[in-house]
């Protein structure tokens, strides 16, 4: 089974900016928020949240510089 065959994943991959990094951020977003809901505020969850935002901002800038 390919990732494109999974209902939610296929919808995400077909829409948007046609970029796997952004698609991955979109798909992992609920998991990160879910992790925070379950574990609460801790060093680990804060690091994960910072990594998520840094990846989003950094990758947007990287694409801009590369284009």
């Amino acid at each position: 089974m390919k990732s494109r065959d999974i209902p939610v994943v296929s919808a995400v991959l077909e829409a948007g900016a046609d970029d796997r990094v952004f698609d991955s951020l979109l798909l992992t977003g609920p998991l990160v928020i879910g992790l925070i809901v379950v574990l609460g505020r801790s060093l680990v969850t804060e690091a994960v949240a910072i990594a998520y935002i840094a990846a989003f901002v950094g990758y947007t800038l990287y694409r801009g510089v590369r284009t």
């Binding site: 979109l26 990160v32 949240a49 998520y52 935002i53 947007t60 694409r63 801009g64 590369r66 284009t67």
Partner: protein, 516 residues
């Protein structure tokens, strides 16, 4: 005409089915939070629009495809219907708590929730949510059941996407700004082939930004439930809060400053976001509206900072910057989050009149067309300014001169320029007319001497600009019934940019024989 009824009926049916679906999804919230008493009310609330929508859709399934005329009527009647049926969770949950639900334990009734046993208050809250306004009939949002906190947030979030879809995919016409957006889209390699893929991409961007907003707010120190709700309403530039004093409740510099870029994201046209995510960062300055989002927010905030610091009421430059910047951005992006309240500093309604009018001007202009912001939209303001300058300069050129008006890198000939200028002027005149009429009406119905003209103008501009900042007039008891009904109308026309509502009313009156 019957063909039009069928087309509108079919599409309205789909909208109501979608609304019912949103309510069914929201059943997760009372289950997670253990608010089981809200389950029957939310389920019934979902079944009503689902049932009506199903009947309408099945009845008119074979109707013709919609044209622009149908699109406007569907948008106007759809938003109105969603506002009405979206009030059911407020009404039914309030009555569930009031009367009790057999087999479920219900919490004690509060004055805040009891306000929603009045259908008009429930409809007001729902319309305020789906239009992204944020004016509220609640006294204290903190005591609302989590289910209703979520429904308020969800309505603004969905309404935010709805208005982007409306302006970029349905009402794309010269002067609305949408034509400009499509042309800027055309600069990229990938042009969306259909409305369906455009809508999907808008959702994609909106959801991605929502996750980022939630995490940023949480990192700034907001509890996760607050971050989820405020991240969603901030990006949707809706402004509903789950706390009693809006964002002022947190009294946090970090949260204030994290919310500013979130509100700005919501006020930039989403097709521009699409280009930026594709790596075309030049749009931050090459796109006229985006450039002006930053320029005009900067100028407005600096002006407000000057008023608040040099004339008062704030005594330190940082306090004036913190509250002035936040409140101007909140107003001009049409979000309506409030940090200037008496609980932590000085309430907006008690700011000097010129400071209030500066904020009112921000609400009047609003953000970019194709975003979630309200107001007349930056593109219209800029079209008007450039058009007026063009007309005046015309006097200095010989009659034989061929001149072109340049807007957002588009060179318009005389006919195109005249058409865009006219459309922008019509919207601005209508907007101003309804603003003045609403102000008169509110002045007549409010107790004399209790509120200043600046307060009243501020409140009406806030409703019509879908902002949600309040000078203290809006409330279940403080706003008279006529004022509530008028505000429902203001929020409705403000969200739809007036014309679709007038088209719908003309059609209804003409069909009923009232107007010929």
């Amino acid at each position: 005409m019957n063909g039009a009824v069928a087309t509108v009926g079919r599409d309205l049916g789909r909208i109501l089915e979608a609304l019912g679906g949103l309510m069914l999804i929201s059943l997760v919230v009372p289950i997670v939070w253990g608010e089981y008493f809200a389950l029957p009310a939310l389920l019934v609330s979902a079944l009503v629009p689902l049932g009506i929508g199903w009947v309408l859709y099945r009845r008119f399934e074979g109707a013709e495809a919609p044209g622009r005329f149908h699109g406007m009527i569907v948008a106007a009647s759809g938003w109105f219907s969603v506002g009405i049926f979206g009030s059911l969770p407020f009404l039914l949950i309030a009555w569930s708590v009031q009367l009790g639900v057999p087999g479920f334990s219900t919490p004690a009734q509060t004055a805040t929730l009891a306000a929603f046993t009045e259908p008009l208050n429930a409809i007001f809250e729902s319309m305020s949510g789906f239009t992204g306004t944020g004016l509220t009939m609640t006294d204290n949002e903190e005591v609302l059941p989590r289910t209703l906190q979520w429904w308020r947030t969800f309505s603004e979030w969905v309404g935010g996407v709805g208005v982007i879809v409306l302006t970029t995919a349905i009402l794309s016409r010269p002067g609305s700004g949408s034509l400009t957006l499509y042309e800027s889209e055309a600069r990229s390699k990938k042009i969306h082939p259909s409305i369906v893929s455009t809508v999907r991409t808008i959702w994609w961007i909106f959801i991605l930004f929502t996750f980022g907003s939630i995490l940023a707010l949480w990192l700034a120190g907001m509890p996760i439930w607050g971050a989820i709700n405020h991240g969603m309403t901030g990006l949707a530039t809706g402004g509903f809060s789950i706390t009693d004093n809006s964002i002022a409740t947190y009294d946090s510099v970090a949260i204030d400053f994290v919310l500013i870029p979130i509100m700005l994201l919501g006020s930039i046209a989403f097709p521009v976001h699409y280009l930026i995510l594709q790596g075309d960062l030049r749009n931050f300055y090459s796109d006229l509206q985006t450039r002006w989002v930053f320029g005009y927010m900067g100028i407005g905030s600096a002006l407000l900072w000057g008023f608040l610091y040099f004339v008062g009421p704030y005594e330190t430059p940082f306090a004036a910057l913190r509250y002035g910047l936040f409140q101007f951005v909140s107003a001009a992006t049409c979000t309506g989050f409030q940090t200037a309240v008496d609980a932590t500093n000085i309430a907006l309604g008690r700011w000097p009149s010129y400071a209030q009018l500066t904020v009112t001007f921000g609400m009047f202009v609003g953000g970019a067309a194709g975003s979630t912001a309200g107001g007349i939209k930056l593109i219209r303001g800029l079209t008007l300014v450039k058009g007026i300058r063009h007309q005046i300069a015309d006097v200095f050129y010989p009659e034989s001169a061929v001149r072109r008006l340049e807007i957002n890198n588009r060179r318009l000939n005389e006919e195109e320029a005249s058409r865009e200028f006219m459309e922008a002027a019509i919207i601005v005149v209508l907007w101003s007319t309804f603003l003045v009429l609403g102000t008169f009406l509110l002045l007549l119905t409010l107790p004399s001497g209790e509120y200043s003209l600046a307060n009243v103008l501020f409140e009406v501009a806030s409703a019509q600009g879908n902002v949600g900042l309040s000078s203290g007039i809006t409330g279940p008891d403080s706003l008279p019934t006529i004022g509530k009904i008028a505000f429902l109308f203001h929020m409705w026309i403000g969200r739809l940019e007036i014309i679709p509502v007038l088209v719908m009313l003309r059609t209804i009156f003409k069909r009923g024989g009232v107007y010929r």
